[in-house]
Every structure is written in C-alpha cells, then in structure tokens.
Symmetry: C2
C-alpha cells in the first residue's frame, strides 16, 4: 500500500469531506459528514477534524490542506481573499496556517471581486476552479458551478477576470418551502419529474429574464387555470430560476465563451439538460474530482515542489 502524503479537506457551510491522499496521488481513505462550518463552529473545528483523522489513523506528521468556509471570518481561522483579476496560482501561495496545532494545517483563501456595484465573494469554489481550469488555458471560458449560490466565473487565458453569484438554489428552496408556491409544489416529491415543463420554463426565462418574479407566479396561476401538476409547478420554478441565471451569466460574459459545468449528481443532470435545451455547447467536470484536484495542486505547491515556499 502507498504511504500517506497529505490530507485534503473541503469544509463547507453544511458539509465536511476529507480525503487521505497517498504519495502516488491515490485516495487511501475518504470521510464525509454533515459537520460543516455551522456545526463545527459549536463543536470546535480542531475536534471535528481530529476525530475524522483518528477514524482513518492519520499520523501527526501528515499535513492537512483545507478549503471552504472553515476559512471564513465566522470559521476556524480567517483565510482572507485573493482579489480578482488574478491568476489561479495566486491562491496556492496564500494559504493560512492554523496556529497552535501539532500538525501542519493550512486553509486556502477565497476570491473577492472588489467593486462598488458588483461586489462578490467565493470560498471553496476557487479550489474547484483550480482543479478545473488549466493554468495554461487559452481563450475565454465561463465556468458554471451550480448550487445553493451558483457561481459563474469568467476566465481569460487562465486568469480569473470576474465572477457572479446567483442565489438560484437557495431561492428555489425558500420559495418552495415558505411562499404561496409551497402549496403549488405539495406532493411533487412523489411524482415523476416534469421535464417538458422544466424545459419550456428554461426557454421562457432565458428569453424574458426581466419577468422572473412574474414567471414564478405562473406556477400558481397555471394550477388554477391550466391544470399544472405539483411536479409541473416544481419544474416551472426550477426551470425559471435556472433560465434566468443562465441569461444573467451570459449577459455578463462574452457570448462565445466556452462553458464548463462543474457539478455532480442531480444538479449536473439538471444543468446538462438546460444547456442542451438552450443549444449552448458545454463540457462537464465532476465537482468532487475538481475540488480534490485543486486541493492536491495546493498541497503539491506548498509541501512537495522544490520551487515552492512553505
């Protein structure tokens, strides 16, 4: 069996993922839990991490590289932000050491777009990006990372020129739980997905994004007047939000930028369907693989490359 080299941790708001990586780059062990920042801020970040390290018997000498909300102000140790425009490599050199630990633990910074009108921040996605975009990439790319807060990153010749956060996932969640539309979607979980309504809603929202909050209401009026089902209402809300997100993201970038989708699971399927329906060429990178690749690039730069400084 290969010897352990380092531990990679993706520590989000509500999730914790850890990989023990061997000297040959293979995954020796993996841990997943719901002990994200919110939980760990109460339990103690060091305790949560140590329990997972103990569970897979990681010796004290093995260093840990962390990305995500553990580096937020309300996290473990604030890791700050790298300002855009920036090369992705700049992230690698700005990791912050966690003080008072017997083990070498570093937390990667986020990215900040300092602008009066369009300020924006990300924390965690910059590491996915690092694992997605080749440092020597040429041309304009638009990287889509869907989620609670979808990030769309504009990359030109390997430099991050800017990015935009869309509250798509969170709005879907609160609209279907807390608004009048919660009645419209009641029971949708027990029905097959309504792909046709999703696709129609996508196209309508892409075409008329200014009507977003009007189109959402058609999930209710469509039930009252047109016999829209609960699954249809859910598909309509989802398609409308994603369609408006894509319209907004493309309005902020060159229309010819190549789209890279960084996603996995249900969101991957939804966005792939969306891009196909809208005839937008794209390629997909698995989100889990991307963050692991980004963390590995950071670990290599910090601890294992001769030219890097620790």
């Amino acid at each position: 069996m290969t010897k352990s080299a380092y531990v990679a941790v993706d520590w989000g708001t509500s999730s914790f993922r850890l990989w023990l990586i061997g000297e040959d780059g293979s995954i020796i062990a993996e841990r997943r839990s719901g002990e994200g920042m919110t939980t760990a801020a109460q339990t103690g970040f060091d305790k949560v991490l140590q329990a997972h390290l103990d569970a897979v018997s990681v010796p004290d000498a093995i260093p840990v590289i962390v990305c995500g909300m553990a580096g937020a102000r309300q996290g473990w140790v604030e890791a700050g932000y790298i300002d855009t425009p920036t090369s992705l490599a700049a992230i690698l050199t700005a990791a912050v050491s966690v003080p008072g630990q017997s083990r070498d633990i570093r937390i990667l910074p986020g990215l900040a777009q300092r602008s009066q009108q369009m300020p924006d921040v990300m924390r965690g996605e910059e590491t996915q990006l690092l694992g997605t975009v080749a440092a020597d990439a040429k041309g304009e790319q638009l990287v889509c990372m869907p989620g609670t807060h979808s990030k769309w990153v504009r990359v030109l010749d390997g430099q991050v020129t800017g990015f935009s956060t869309f509250m798509t996932g969170e709005l879907f969640d609160i609209i279907t739980k807390h608004s009048i539309l919660s009645h419209a979607v009641a029971g949708a979980a027990d029905m097959p997905a309504d792909t046709k309504t999703f696709e129609t809603a996508l196209k309508t929202a892409l075409d008329k994004p200014a009507l977003l909050t009007n189109l959402l209401f058609t999930a209710r009026s469509g039930q009252l007047l047109n016999g829209l089902t609960a699954a249809g209402a859910q598909a309509l809300i989802s398609g409308t939000l994603i369609g408006a997100e894509i319209a907004g993201a493309r309005a902020s970038a060159g229309q010819n930028a190549a789209i890279t989708l960084v996603a996995s699971g249900r969101l991957q399927a939804l966005y792939e369907d969306a891009f196909r329906v809208l005839s937008l060429p794209f390629k997909t990178i698995d989100a889990d693989a991307a963050v692991r690749r980004g963390l590995s690039a950071a670990a290599e730069a910090i601890w294992f490359k001769k030219e890097s400084k620790s």
Copy 2:
C-alpha cells in the same frame, strides 16, 4: 344622519375591511380586522361577517357586496373569474349570491388571463381597478398595484387587455426572513432607511433585470467587502426587487403607457420614490379609496340602478 344603503367588504387573505355606506354615499361606519380568508375559513365566514355587522348595528334588510379572497375556491363561495380581455363593467354583472342567508350578500368575481404561457389571476384588485379606471378612459394605461403579489394591469380605452403578477412583496419577505440575507438585514428595523442605496439598486435592476438573483447576493458581498449596513442591505433587496418588477412590467406594455399607482402608506411612498428616481411619469390613486369606489360601483349597479338586473 343619512340612512344606511349597503355594506361594502374587502375580504383579503389576511385582512377584513368593512364600510357601512349611507344613501348619500357617505361612510357611516368602518371596521378593520385580521380575520382574512385564512382565519375566516376556520371560524366561519358568516360568523365573522355577522359579528362585524352586529358591531355597527346593520339591519337585516341592508345588502352586502364583497370582493377579494372570500370568493376564492378555498373561500366562502367561489365567485369564479371574468376572462381578459374584458371591460371592467363586466365584473359588476357577475357577482355571485351567497346561498342560505337572510341578507342579500354578493361576492364579486376575480379576473383571469387564460394563456398557456402567461396564465394569471387576480381577486380583489379587479375591484380596486374598477374604482381607478374610468369606464370611458381613452388611450393606454398601466395600472400598478404593489403588494405581496404586485399586479400590473394593461388597460386600453377602458378595456383590460392583460395583466402580470410579480411576487415582489412575498419574495422580499421570505428572502429577508429565510435566506442567508436574513443575517445581512438583521438590525435594519432600528436604523433609518437607506434611500440612496434603494435608489441605486432600483436603477441597476431596471438596467439589468436579468441579474436579479445576482444583484440580491450583493447585499451579502457588499457587507463583506464594502461596509454596507443592515439598512443598506434591506434597501438594496427592496430596490432590486422593485426595479426588476418595473422593468418586467414595462417590457410587457407599451413604453408610452401612462402609469397609475394604486397604493397607500409605506408602499405608496416606496413606489412613488421609485417612479421619480426612474423618471417615469405617474399619478397616484389611494388604494383604500379605490376599492371602496369599486365596491360602490358594484352595489349601485346591482341594487340601485333602474337599468341593472339583480
């Protein structure tokens, strides 16, 4: 004192308002309570109404005209919809009688826009509209009725040609209560309103409505990066939603349509500020007066005009 002629009731989802109107059109008595449809559906609509009628000693012979959610399927008696395009006068003739009552009680219908892609409904606002738009009005008008679900109605030569519901008020409510932005606005209630941020957000959203869910997130990133206050975050969310609403509503109507705002109180002030900042000419009609005028027009047509049928 003038003799009582009829009772006018505006019965919404969460509010109940009643006026006892005299033969000379004056208001003899007024009642307001929170016993909207939601409460009354449990207590009993007849009990709620009778208690308010008893409180102001209305004789059994006095008829009652009702508009609003009491006429919804989940209300007292379903009053259906008049389909657009329609003259406003058509509403007057389609009131439904409440059966099994000693008193003559009629509930006015709502309006429905039967369309596959843009279905829409209103219930209550059609009566405000009746009290706002003169039957012999000429030209194109755009009537804005802000609220939980803002209604924008397109009127051409006194005919309702179509309308659009925007979920502005409800989205503001659930975003500031249930999303990550609830942290951004915490404490805003104790601070003076940030009018400058409201106005900037309005203009940005009117200019770039496709970025709605991105602009909302700047309430968080603006706090992290630019020192935006809680009042500023609240103003930004409000201005962004209202700006996008106005952009969407105007995109669905002629750009030269005269805007009539039907509102009162806080919403009146917010939307008047918005129209002024965006240099959109408008006139304001008081929402309370409008609904009362609409109910009176219906009562006159049903009970007091020789040419009307009861």
